[in-house]
Symmetry: C2
Subunit: 336 residues, 2 copies
């Protein structure tokens, strides 16, 4: 592999000059700049950024710790992140994980060891250890879409509490009173917020909260199917279901289909995420949309701001987007 020395030798100048020439410093004559650049190009020289960053203590790299992308909404977010990195000339190191504090912690640590300039984390786990670790990280950190309270980190995401309210009010306005909630895990921040919004909205409209209508673990299809069976066989079965994600919503619809229960005639379903091609389903899904791409972009922008001002003053920033209801065909008036 060519180093700066090799280029220097071929160009007949010192390594220091090569460095300056390649970085377009103004204290190098144009003629040497041109010569050095030509030689470097010819040799296929690629500067060793690792070595550079050891002296500049800047890697122009940011890290992302995010759960696996089973959910297309996460991909849109990732796209937004990648897009903003690209236009700001930062390299992105994406660490996918299966969720959980332990893996998240070890990935964040690996990133710090590689001296990324900043980190974006979408935490799905919430151990004390992770929380303390995040609080202590010396480089800028922004949490995206999922939150851990009390870390003092910046945050960019959507208002899930509001999202739940929007969706619930849609159902209630259609006359539904028996509404079930299908979540993943209550420990996941957004899921907790959604569930809270679900409950509070019921209360607001004087509808009693029935805990047997709140079901968890629905990212596993087997569990989901059992949950559907169970809930549809309770004394007063729900006439509407609110799902934590479009994927769960679609799974529920499929299961109801097998049970010969019609959507939306018998049961209304509302999802969360607005996954593009679910609008192509035979019963297009009513859902609550977030500006995922934008969230990804804005997260990076906020992070880069923090990096640029280098921890000088640190006014914690929060950027919270408002979800939007998208009514399609999977919700309708409550069955009498």
């Amino acid at each position: 592999m060519n180093t700066i020395k090799d280029v220097a030798k071929k160009a007949g100048v010192s390594p220091g000059t090569v460095s300056k020439a390649l970085l377009d410093r103004h204290d190098v004559s144009n003629s040497t700049k041109r010569r050095v650049k030509r030689v470097a190009e010819e040799m296929g020289y690629i500067p060793n950024i690792i070595a550079r960053s050891l002296v500049t203590s800047k890697t122009n790299t940011i890290g992302l710790v995010t759960p696996y992308l089973g959910n297309p909404a996460l991909i849109e977010r990732l796209r937004g992140v990648q897009n903003a990195c690209l236009s700001n000339k930062y390299l992105l190191i994406t660490c996918l994980n299966e969720g959980g504090a332990e893996e998240e912690l070890s990935q964040a640590e690996a990133l710090i060891a590689r001296k990324v300039d900043g980190i974006i984390i979408t935490p799905t786990g919430n151990s004390i250890k992770l929380k303390e670790f995040i609080s202590r990280i010396e480089i800028p950190v922004v949490l995206m879409s999922e939150m851990i309270e009390g870390t003092g980190c910046d945050f960019v995401g959507e208002d899930d509490y509001e999202g739940a309210k929007t969706g619930m009010e849609h159902l209630i306005s259609l006359g539904h009173r028996n509404i079930a909630y299908f979540g993943s895990f209550p420990e996941i921040y957004s899921d907790g917020r959604l569930a809270k919004g679900y409950r509070d909205t019921l209360e607001k409209y004087g509808i009693p909260y029935r805990k047997e209508l709140v079901l968890w673990g629905n990212t596993d299809r087997d569990i989901l199917e059992k949950n559907v069976e169970r809930v549809m066989n309770t004394v007063s079965a729900p006439t509407a279901i609110f799902a934590w994600s479009d994927i769960i919503a679609i799974d529920i619809m499929s299961k109801l289909g097998k049970m010969n229960i019609n959507v939306p005639e018998d049961v209304s379903i509302i999802g969360y995420d607005n996954i593009d091609f679910l609008s192509l389903f035979h019963i297009p899904l009513t859902t609550v949309a977030q500006p995922n791409f934008l969230i990804g972009q804005k997260t990076v922008e906020l992070l880069l701001e923090c990096i640029e001002r280098d921890g000088e003053n640190e006014p914690t920033g929060k950027l919270i987007f408002r979800p939007e209801l998208i009514v399609r065909k999977s919700t309708g008036p409550a069955k009498k």
Copy 2:
């Protein structure tokens, strides 16, 4: 940020000893090892891998250059890659791109500048510049799923020609003779191979190839809709459609639905990828499946082998998986 010197001072030993202790070298007494590790832990010391790799010329990092994940099949592959990296203690740097040789080249370059130990590329572009660049890369490179001929790189992927044949023979066995092909871009390797398989299989069964039945650009929904309209209005309209991806297939189905054309009674449709939840569609999609997760894993394993043997002997490896036909409800006998 703590350095090895700080730890050394606190532990009352030399930096060299700290390094050895933390790396668990056997020429350090157990007592100092314990002490050093305790002190490091207390200080929250995280070794600077950047600095380490400068001397070891090993980063324990591999890079991935892959197009955006609009297609869930790519995500499965990415999961496989990430999974294998994790179990081999390598960090993965994922570079997503919008496709095209230029971006791919610049991302590969960024990775090399960061001294990754090896690179996985799924090239969708194919400029001479990219090809030459890839050929010259001095670190191990494995191409995944998409190929550029003549680079001498290792390859792990699926046999798309065979995949096309399998799908086509299914349609032909159902009596179809007018079969259309809906692709993305012929420059994309897999798409070209699929189209070739489509054509050759027609020939094999003595069915004339009609170029007006081959349509491109279908990753754009508008173009796709126009293509569907056009092809369904030709003199002898197709009774079956082979799509380059499940996403395209589902878009076609949706469009046909709007045109009041029934699947599979009027037109059979077969996709490619086996995206999990399309099996939940009201007309479950017949498709051709690839072992995506496995492809991701195997790609990493092959790459790590190359890295381990450090370019000693380089028998080019190719690992090609056989696609599998999955018959569901979107294909049926040809309409008379």
